[in-house]
Symmetry: C2
Subunit: 331 residues, 2 copies
């Protein structure tokens, strides 16, 4: 089965652009509650699986042994925007490990945070690896590497850190990964299906009901994400705004190329979606619609206007376009 | 018929994202030489029809009467990036009309040009309407309004300027417009089909072979675009890079939501394409492929690597992904 229409953009009463995609809602058993498009479509979760990549950090005992508390766990799951709060926390975490920016392998990235970007640009500086949206995940990898007594090239696919990530990834998705790609931050990103990713999110959503080590680790990561929504992304970002709008009851995470996941502990439900063309504007609208459909997000909350129902303004402040859910999707 | 696969993005040997779209190649008669997807799909050309919106400026005699030479005609057809060269020329043009920034209706926009953006950000200024990528088009509208003795609200759909634009638009596309939307710059943007837009581009491509006023105007606009590729967009931008790569023999123009057109005077051919989801990365790859297919662009030119065949690098400088033409498109 193919990707189905999910989100439309209208202008002047005419359909201007259309986004197709796949989405799966999974229950506690990992079974499909509802799906659109092809549940078996193979995708790269990209940053939407950072909480899975952080499982070995906690499950191995590395987090406890090396003083990684909830705010650092939130950063390990984050695609942060390089604001001062993010950079300062990552810098301190690296310092506590006796490490520095040069030990990261994620590459430099201009901060998305306006004030931080302005500071870098206007001082004539260059952005550094700590500004990279994945620097928390990478510092988590360094923490695990230290705990395992493994070498410095933690981003290589055959490194013990990535071997542990792969094992956890395949176990929580319930599938052998059909392959991996190298992510924007140079870490391996293991492929799975949309169903596999939704099943993994259901594993996280039900973690508090189990007492095994991996489930305890998963529950701590979900709690960290919902306790520190501003660390998972940043002010003005969809993950932060959506988690705040749901009062910490749901964890959500986006990934590059328009992947979005949600973890609903109260319902024991996991969601995963991928927009075929990779457009964030569509994955944000689609996850907003699914969270409303599941009763997790109040349709009257201002963020819903921002990501789904509100008009799109032009540079002169006129309402010129609108988003609509495609017929048959999440309505 | 539906949109067809055009451009794929691959990572780690797996297809990660896919862009569908429509494309039409038209000959001198306005007939279809080749098409993909639905030639009758209704689209908003957005900024890809700026050369059509500039026809009345020249055809009316306004350009000659008010000293609008080739560089200003190029700016009238431009989606410039607010670099100093663009802002200075628009400012002077407005000054020659005895007008200023407040007479524009396009709204302010942060320059895309890095140096100009840095200057605005680091001075703590706000961007102004002259920085708006459409400020040249709007100054052209003001010039026509002056020549017609019409009022200041030149962007309103019933204003004589927009009435003249609509008439020219419908005549060169060969279709009554099914409607209009308000563009990012607040000007009306008339809808047409992909075939209609390609037919209009073929009209421009064959303009030099005719002696009527509109054809002479079209030929002057094509010559202005190809003579000043850096004014039509700016350094590093696809329109500028592609026109330079073809040595001024072909005019190309992009529009928001992934529209791209090309005018090939030597072949008497026009091209129009629209990527369904609105992604520029796909419309740039698709127009590059079609220009190569038609023998207008050397497949060995460095820009081809940049927009189509070259690897996609991550933040650490590793080649991590690649674009591919979808089977059956332009290959």
């Amino acid at each position: 089965m193919k990707a189905v229409p999910m989100v439309e953009f209208w202008r002047g009463g005419l359909l201007e652009s259309l986004h197709l995609g796949h989405a799966v809602i999974c229950d506690a058993t990992g079974g499909i509650v509802e799906a659109w498009g092809d549940p078996d479509a193979v995708i790269f979760p990209r940053s939407a699986c950072k909480m899975i990549q952080a499982l070995p950090l906690v499950e191995s005992g590395a987090a406890d042994a090396l003083g990684v508390g909830p705010s650092r766990l939130a950063l390990a799951c984050a695609s942060h925007q390089g604001a001062a709060v993010h950079s300062d926390l990552v810098t301190r975490w690296l310092g506590d490990l006796g490490l520095g920016e040069n030990d990261l392998r994620c590459g430099p990235q201009m901060p998305r945070d306006h004030a931080a970007m302005r500071e870098v640009l206007c001082k004539g500086d260059s952005p550094c690896q700590i500004h990279n949206n994945c620097s928390g995940k990478h510092t988590g990898f360094l923490t695990l590497a230290r705990h395992l007594g493994a070498g410095p090239e933690y981003h290589e696919v055959d490194h013990p850190v990535q071997a542990a990530v792969r094992q956890a990834f395949e176990e929580v998705t319930g599938l052998a990964s059909p392959g991996y790609g190298i992510d924007g931050c140079s870490a391996p990103n293991f492929a799975t299906t949309v169903h596999g990713l939704a099943r993994a999110m259901a594993f996280f959503a039900t973690a508090a009901t189990r007492s095994d080590g991996r489930s305890k680790a998963a529950d701590r990561l979900v709690s960290a994400m919902t306790a520190f929504p501003e660390l998972v992304a940043g002010e003005g970002r969809s993950c932060t705004n959506l988690m705040r709008a749901m009062g910490g009851k749901v964890a959500v995470k986006t990934g590059a190329e328009a992947v979005f996941v949600a973890i609903l502990p109260e319902r024991g439900i996991g969601i995963a979606l991928k927009v075929l063309d990779g457009a964030d504007r569509a994955s944000e609208a689609a996850i907003t619609a699914l969270l409303i459909r599941l009763g997790a997000l109040d349709p009257g909350h201002p963020v819903v206007k921002h990501y789904l129902t509100g008009p799109i303004m032009n540079r002169a402040g006129l309402a010129v376009a609108e988003r609509r859910l495609a017929p048959g999707f999440a309505a």
